[in-house]
């Protein structure tokens, strides 16, 4: 297959770490033998005389590794028997560009937890200093044992999904040193951009999918075939292979004229204030590797992929690679699904997804949209997933839910029983009893599920709140500016906050300080509403010349109707999150007004004069504050609502069960 076209390269940071790898898979023993050449360029302003290598497969070496300990229940899976179990990687040769042997200088380090049984990071002492801008070449031989799949990578039967399989140079951040984090259960990856030329040898006739595009395929020989893949401006390389009777390959494409919904195009033009030419999307190839038992779901997978390409291309820029490979793992290998690699995503589907009621759920779309979203957030905008997991997971979740909401609203997937995706996220956040801090390193959460709640759910809701506060136009433009500016770079949270602040025209740092780096909770309440008649005037008033006795104006009383009255509205901030909130006041004469409270103080009292009674008070009626999950006390009304249906609680309970089924089935 010939190579495809690559979009313009905006910066020189795209070839920091270039890899040439030749690898042979032994399918019987599930082993890899590889030869690797790395050309690394010091793109920082600091010199260094060392490098760090990520040897992620060693995370599967034993039950005592940091990864296994943090996995909790999954580490209890039975790994005995002929299926094998454990995985590892061993560097057998490591030479510098001057031929010197670096292997004796290689030493494992555990900077995160000091775990002596963890071998996922190795420090290598170089024979010379690498100045800023300097280039080094390293060659190494490695051997790897693939684990049976419990997460991320490995094999099940003849199905092999191979990720994090080669020694990878860590990111040098100059003054801040090397990003030398170990492999944790709830962290992902961080690496430099570069080019990959990978030669893979697998059994003849096996299907093969990988990062990048296939550039050369040798004729089968001695029962094996060799395929060469090339990828440019990527920071990782993963691949997948299996016998053809297990997995089928479907070649299709994204054609903007056919697959881009016009309503989305028009809306994006309005929100982003860009011309049609600016938003044009190029065609691209889509390649699906699907188990035969999931072939019924292929049309839906393809549609989900096309919609993802359309959505993210419109709002975050055209996808700069010519091909996307989508792998749906077979039964038993589901744990490699739900993961992203440059130009390759692993999704997943169940055999039951083709039939109602399971087909009503948007799992296929959600997975595909989310993992494709990572092609942008973390794939192109390569933030540090160890230290700021929220910057890719939360941003991707925000984009995913926005896309799913549009898909459901426009009826683009008729099988889905649509529901309010944002409401489901708020329900998920409401389940936790303790406030959650988003801005932690990925392995520093109390439980794994709190990592997901913080990095995914709460962060997505925080961005949704920002969208409500600054408006959808500013949000869309700010996000687009962030992606345009930091493509092929390593941004931090400050960069995102800066881009959004710039688009909004006001400083969002206080908001993010609370939403991301704090654990404060947003919670407002209507404390009281009192109707009073203006008090009778007594005493004297100075008119500038003399004291005059005041006229008797009105008697003081509560209640009454149709006459001028004073209403005192007391609003409170029960949570510690400080921010502006809109309040809607509805009067008995039918008028409605909105006011903004800045929320700086713990409570506020508004003294309002009107001719009628205040009928209803609603704090945040438009649900701008998606982060606020205590909403019952946001409402007050003068006359109590009509009696509830006696079984209202059963109806709402059944709806809640339905939401849970659609969300988690």
């Amino acid at each position: 297959m010939a190579g495809g076209a690559w979009a313009e390269t905006p910066a020189a940071a795209v070839d920091t770490a270039n890899y040439r790898i030749e690898v042979v898979l032994d399918p019987e023993n599930h082993r890899l033998q590889g030869v690797e050449k790395v050309r690394w360029t010091n793109r920082t302003g600091e010199a260094t005389d060392e490098i760090y290598l990520h040897l992620y497969l060693n995370a599967f070496a034993s039950s005592k590794t940091t990864f296994m300990r943090e996995l909790e229940w999954k580490s209890l899976r039975n790994r005995s028997g002929s299926e094998g179990g454990w995985g590892w990687i061993r560097v057998s040769r490591l030479t510098f560009d001057d031929g010197s042997d670096l292997l004796p200088t290689m030493a494992f380090v555990r900077p995160d937890d000091g775990n002596p049984d963890d071998f996922t990071v190795a420090r290598v002492q170089l024979p010379r200093i690498v100045e800023p801008g300097g280039v080094i070449d390293i060659e190494l031989d490695f051997e790897a044992q693939l684990p049976s799949i419990i997460a991320r990578t490995g094999f099940v039967g003849d199905f092999h999904f191979i990720g994090q399989w080669f020694p990878k140079i860590a990111v040098f951040r100059g003054e801040r040193g090397w990003n030398d984090h170990q492999f944790h259960a709830h962290s992902e990856y961080f690496a430099d951009f570069g080019s990959y030329l990978v030669t893979i040898t697998v059994p003849a006739a096996w299907v093969l999918g990988a990062t990048g595009i296939e550039v050369r395929r040798s004729p089968p020989e001695a029962g094996r075939q060799t395929v060469v893949f090339r990828a440019e401006r990527v920071h990782d390389f993963a691949w997948c292979t299996a016998p053809p009777d297990l997995m089928e390959v479907i070649e299709t494409d994204f054609e903007p004229g056919r697959d881009l919904p016009i309503s989305w195009f028009e809306r994006a033009r309005t929100l982003l204030d860009r011309s049609a030419a600016d938003l044009e999307l190029p065609p691209m190839r889509l390649r699906l590797m699907v188990p035969r038992e999931q072939l019924k779901m292929v049309p839906r997978m393809i549609r989900a992929a096309r919609l993802s390409v359309a959505w993210f291309g419109l709002y975050y820029g055209a996808y700069p690679y010519p091909q996307l490979t989508i792998v749906s793992p077979p039964v038993g290998a589901e744990e490699v699904g739900g993961m992203e690699y440059p130009t390759l995503i692993a999704t997943g589907a169940d055999r039951l997804d083709a039939y109602p009621p399971f087909s009503w759920s948007s799992d296929i779309e959600a997975l595909t949209v989310h993992e494709f979203g990572h092609q942008y957030f973390q794939g192109l905008v390569a933030s540090n997933e160890f230290e700021e997991a929220w910057l890719d997971e939360g941003v991707t979740s925000y984009a995913e839910i926005s896309c799913l909401t549009a898909i459901a609203a426009d009826g683009l997937v008729p099988e889905i029983v649509g529901y309010d995706y944002w409401a489901a996220e708020r329900l998920a956040l409401a389940f936790t009893n303790l406030p959650v801090t988003v801005g932690r390193r990925a392995w520093e959460y109390r439980h794994g599920w709190i990592y997901y709640l913080a990095s995914y759910t709460k962060m997505a809701l925080a961005l949704r709140t920002v969208e409500g506060l600054i408006g959808p136009e500013s949000m869309a433009r700010g996000m687009r500016s962030y992606v345009d500016r930091f493509r092929f770079r390593h941004p931090t949270g400050s960069d995102l906050i800066g881009a959004l602040s710039e688009a909004a025209g006001w400083d969002l740092v206080p908001f993010f300080d609370q939403a991301v780096y704090g654990d404060v909770v947003a919670d407002w309440a209507v404390l009281a509403v009192n109707h009073k008649r203006p008090s009778s005037a007594e005493g004297f008033r100075w008119n500038g010349e003399a004291w005059r006795e005041l006229d008797q104006e009105q008697a003081t009383a509560e209640g009454g109707d149709g006459e001028s009255r004073v209403v005192e509205v007391e609003l409170g901030r029960r949570g510690e999150f400080v921010g502006p909130v809109e309040v809607e006041l509805r009067w008995s004469d039918g008028t409605t007004e909105r006011r903004t409270w800045d929320g700086e103080t713990r409570w506020v009292r508004w003294r309002l004069e009107g001719s009628g009674r205040l009928e209803q008070v609603s704090i945040d009626p438009d649900v701008v504050w998606a982060l606020e999950t205590n909403r019952a006390d946001n409402y007050w009304r003068d006359r109590m609502a009509q009696a509830d249906h006696p079984l209202w609680w059963i109806r709402e309970g059944l709806r809640l069960v339905g939401y849970v089924f659609l969300r988690f089935s």
Binding site: R292, E293, Q294, L295, K296, V331, G332, R351, L352, A354, Y355, D420, W422, A423, R426, L427, A430, R586, E615, Q616, S618, D620, P621, D622, V623, T629, N630, R631, A632, D633, Y635, W636, R637, M640, A641, Q642, A643, D644, H645, P646, L647, W648, W649, I650, R651, E652, G653, L654, R655, L656, Y659
Partner: protein, 292 residues
């Protein structure tokens, strides 16, 4: 001899047993009142403040969760207890009606008398109900078990269809057998609930259409009437609920009575002055006297 089910007879008898219908209805309502009290106490004030146009987008479930979360456990306990009471009550009136009907000495439908007949047989009928419940759970789960295995995609749809059909058929059979077995269990001298269920199954299989008809005429509408108030949003929802449940109670009593055998008649007392009703034989006794 097995009774011949009759939906018309079920209707007539349910009308006759109107006091039973009323008691079933009242018990249903009363059993769930504590749950309603718990819910109203927890949610009433906050629900009363909901905006005129309803909560904002996606708010209603969130507010529901927020309001109900503190009382979820007490409500679950109260609701579970209510369900147990409901089962016990259903067993009592089923047993009472069946045994009262089969007692030839009873005629007038006195509620106290009917329930009094049910008490001594309550445990026997409770065992029958438990057998049916266990079988219900088992036969509902079993058809789906093959889907848990690593079956090929081409078998998934047939298994789904099989599971759906099997679940419905099994449910109907289990409860048909229980209803018919209940009447057999009510006969004097019967005590084995398991045998009664099996015999009921046998009767139901031998009279499939006759056994099924009362289910279609009474059980399906009755269950629908129980659930219908959930869908009604009108201004008199509470009254609609009470009316629907009253009709449902009638349907359930009619269902039960549709399987009733003919009521045994009490034996007539024999008077010594009356000539014997059975045919008799004249025997001529030879005599030395001449007849002329």
């Amino acid at each position: 001899m097995a009774a011949r089910p009759s939906t018309v007879a079920g209707f007539r008898l349910a009308a006759r047993l109107h006091r039973v219908v009323a008691s079933v209805w009242l018990a249903w309502v009363a059993i769930f009142v504590p749950s309603l009290v718990v819910v109203d106490a927890a949610a009433g004030p906050q629900r009363a403040n909901r905006p005129a146009g309803g909560f904002g987008a996606g708010e209603d479930l969130l507010v529901f969760f927020e309001i109900m979360r503190p009382v979820a456990m007490p409500l679950a306990v109260v609701f579970a207890f209510a369900c147990l009471l409901l089962i016990a009550w259903c067993v009592l009136w089923h047993a009472g009606v069946a045994r009262w009907w089969l007692d030839p000495a009873t005629d007038e439908a006195r509620l106290a008398q009917i329930l009094g007949h049910g008490l001594p047989a309550w445990w026997r009928f409770a065992r029958l109900a438990m057998i049916a419940l266990v079988l219900q759970v088992t036969t509902t789960a079993a058809p789906w078990l093959p889907l848990l295995a690593d079956v090929e995609q081409r078998f998934v749809l047939p298994l789904l269809i099989f599971g759906s059909v099997a679940t419905v058929v099994a449910t109907v059979l289990v409860w048909l057998a229980a209803f018919r077995g209940g009447w057999l269990l009510a006969e004097p001298g019967r005590s084995s609930a398991l045998m009664a269920w099996f015999r009921g199954l046998g009767v139901a299989v031998r009279q499939p259409l006759r056994s099924l008809l009362p289910v279609l005429v009474w059980a399906v509408p009755g269950i629908a009437l129980l659930a219908l108030p959930l869908l009604y949003n009108g201004p008199v929802a509470a009254l609609f609920l009470l009316a629907a449940w009253l009709l449902a109670a009638f349907c359930m009593v009619a269902l039960h009575m549709s399987y009733a055998p003919p009521k045994p008649q009490p034996p007539k007392p024999v008077s010594p002055l009356e000539p014997p009703t059975a045919p008799y034989v004249t025997t001529r006794i030879p005599t030395l006297l001449r007849d002329d």
